[in-house]
């Protein structure tokens, strides 16, 4: 420990430590990225390439997967196909080369839209209700506050599948089965507990003096909440929204049980693509790739907040 000869800091990790840490992080990133990269690559493969063994890393990209994802097709005789006019689009051309013609659009976009409506709708509701509840718990003397908070958390303790049957029966009676509203309410109920807990932590960290100052400055409590508390809680709100959105976006168990048609979301829909004429892995991969885009965009937009959210405000300046 010769602090006199080298500028060795007690708190800064040494260069070697940093390098090793860097290598571990990069390795981990690569490992987690491989499945994603594989899905992305598969979505551009032709069906034979997608199931070839050994797996092909170099291949000729084709849009066949995406065409198959967005269309339904029927098999026709080559004579019939020849009798048609010139192909209308690149998908037309690919489909005809497989001795098929496009019969119409697939259900992918409607299902994707369902996912968007349900995930963003429930996220908005959960964060909205969660913010108000968290503010209440944080600022007012709520009777049995600790018990209530525990009760709220306990809704997350059992696996969703345990309550799936009762909810299925309830929803059938209430006419909420296979409706977007039903799914929004369900995901909101699941997410609101997470939202209350996360947001209470964030709001607890905002000193009360700010609202008190605003109230002295002539604002009502609600105005103070909106003009002073909310702007400072944005980090927490953004982080909470991402967590809620990821859950609602990816949720499979409830979706597969409670939706079948008009309100079906993407997660239960994507596997059904396989069934339409053999193992169409490129179409499944294409569906998954597109499915990843919204969450990716949302996460990248809010990545700073997410980072602070994961550390639960520990890196406050």
């Amino acid at each position: 420990m010769s602090s006199a000869t080298s500028a060795h800091s007690v708190v800064e990790p040494s260069a070697t430590t940093k390098r090793i840490a860097g290598i571990i992080v990069v390795l981990y990133a690569v490992i987690t990225m491989v499945p994603l990269a594989w899905i992305f690559m598969t979505s551009f493969k032709s069906p034979p390439d997608s199931i070839s063994y050994p797996p092909k890393v170099v291949f000729t990209p084709t849009l066949e997967g995406y065409c198959n994802l967005f269309t339904t097709r029927t098999r026709q005789t080559p004579e019939y196909i020849q009798s048609l006019g010139p192909p209308q689009s690149i998908c037309d051309e690919i489909t005809r080369s497989r001795n098929m013609v496009i019969a119409g659009p697939s259900n992918y976009w409607p299902r994707f839209t369902n996912s968007m409506v349900i995930a963003f709708g429930s996220t908005f509701l959960a964060v909205f209700l969660g913010t108000l509840a968290a503010y209440g718990f944080s600022r007012f003397r709520v009777p049995l506050a600790d018990d209530l908070m525990f009760f709220i958390l306990s809704t997350r303790m059992m696996p969703p599948i345990a309550v799936a049957i009762p909810i299925y029966l309830m929803y059938r009676e209430l006419g909420l089965s296979d409706t977007a509203l039903g799914m929004i309410l369900l995901y909101t109920a699941v997410n609101v507990s997470l939202a209350v807990w996360l947001l209470k932590g964030f709001i607890d960290e905002i000193p009360r003096e700010y609202e008190e100052a605003a109230m002295i400055d002539g604002y009502t409590r609600l105005q103070a909440f909106r003009k002073v508390v909310l702007p400072q809680a944005t980090t927490g709100i953004a982080a909470t929204a991402i967590f809620c959105l990821i859950f609602a976006w990816n949720e499979y168990a409830f979706a597969v049980l409670l939706t079948s048609g008009s309100a079906q979301t993407s997660p239960p829909f994507i596997p059904t693509i396989i069934g339409e004429g053999g193992m169409d892995w490129p179409a499944v991969a294409a569906g998954t790739t597109i499915f990843l885009v919204p969450i990716l965009v949302f996460t990248i937009l809010l990545r700073k907040q997410l980072l602070r959210g994961i550390t639960f405000g520990a890196v406050r300046k």
Binding site: E209, A214, I216, D217, G218
Partner: protein
């Protein structure tokens, strides 16, 4: 500006009475310091005046209007918080203008008044800076700016200098008093620091355990403390207490300390025999070789222009503020002479001052 009247104010938190039966009036344009140790109820009192806490019982009147249960936002008062509570997501200009925005003042007018206020506080150059990078003193001025921009009925300040370092605190004490002299705002200032209170306030209310022990001008409180608590809390070093057992007759002008008679201001009420304390400020003790009250020098602190010499007497330790030019050796036997006109007598049991000619005109709480 306005007069603040607090009547029988009381605040209970569960079983704990934070403020008990406080009554006082702050006249229009007056600067009142609520002084006391932490937990004495001074901040709670201030927060009740502001409307941030509701009293358990009692009344708060602003200019004669009962505002006890009015919302904070409806009282037209300004509050300066200990940690300033500057809104971190707004810059200095927006912070200062925020109270005006709530009143629907037009944008042009807000700009004008914010700039006026900034000039008054000499912070024009930082108006467009973010508040997060400001130094303590500037944050303090911005907080003050936010308070005065609205020209409220009164200012409430909760230890606004508490987080500043000692050197800067002196500067701000000066600035605050100067600001007060310029705008004559009715002010209630909470502090635990007697120097701040003495230097700035027109009136001081000394609080202890939720009760206002004494209310008066700094001079009154210093010269004629109504209780041993006040005498001990104010002054540094605090008042000396020479304890002795005796009774007092109405009209007595001497007390016996051991066997030494000491002349005191005329006592106005007879007192049962019991333990008493003779209170004397350090500056009212002089050394005199011939004096019959004797003690041994225990130590001395040199303070530049003068020194504080501690003397062990039969009645307890006495600190004397004397010129710095004399050297004392520890253990040296010295005689003490007390300034008879300035002596207070206390009943050690109740801690209250015994009425005497010195106290003739004191307002008891």
């Amino acid at each position: 500006m306005a007069q603040i009247r607090v009547e029988n104010l009381r605040k209970q938190f569960g079983d704990f009475a934070a403020v008990e039966d406080s009554t006082f009036t702050v006249q229009d344009g007056e600067f009142l310091a609520l002084l006391g140790p932490s937990g004495c109820g001074k901040t709670t009192t201030l927060r009740m005046i502001a409307g941030l806490e509701l009293p358990t019982s009692g009344k708060i009147l602003l200019d004669g209007e009962d505002v006890t249960f009015n919302r904070a936002s409806a009282r037209d008062i300004a509050f300066v918080f200990q940690l300033f509570a500057l809104y971190p997501h707004m810059n200095v200009r927006k912070n200062i203008g925020f109270p005006l925005l709530s009143q629907g003042v037009p944008k042009e007018e807000i700009k004008k008044r914010v700039e006026e206020t900034a000039r008054l506080l000499q912070i024009s150059h930082i108006l467009d800076r973010s508040v997060s990078g400001l130094a303590g003193g500037d944050r303090q001025r911005v907080a003050l700016g936010r308070a005065i921009v609205r020209r409220p009925k009164c200012f409430l300040m909760d230890e606004p200098l508490g987080t500043l370092d000692a050197e800067f605190r002196e500067v701000m004490v000066h600035e605050l008093r100067e600001l007060h002299n310029r705008i004559h705002a009715t002010t209630v200032y909470v502090t635990h620091d007697q120097h701040e209170a003495m230097a700035m306030a027109d009136k001081i209310a000394v609080m202890n355990h939720g009760v206002i022990e004494q209310y008066g001008t700094p001079q009154e409180i210093y010269a004629r403390p109504v209780s041993m608590y006040v005498a001990d809390f104010i002054g540094s070093p605090p008042m000396n207490f020479l304890r002795f057992k005796s009774g007092l007759e109405n009209g007595a002008t001497t007390v016996e300390l051991g066997n030494v008679p000491v002349r005191v201001p005329q006592v106005y009420a007879a007192h049962e025999p019991g333990e008493l304390a003779l209170g004397v400020r350090p500056e009212h003790v002089r050394f005199s070789d011939a004096a019959p009250l004797r003690g041994a020098v225990y130590g001395s602190e040199y303070l530049g222009t003068n020194q504080i010499v501690s003397v062990e007497t039969a009645q307890g330790l006495v600190k004397a503020r004397v010129p710095a030019n004399r050297n004392f050796t520890i253990g040296e036997n010295v005689g003490l002479e007390l300034n008879s006109d300035k002596l207070s007598l206390f009943d050690c049991g109740s801690g209250k001052a015994i009425p005497s000619s010195l106290y003739a005109e004191v307002n008891h709480g």
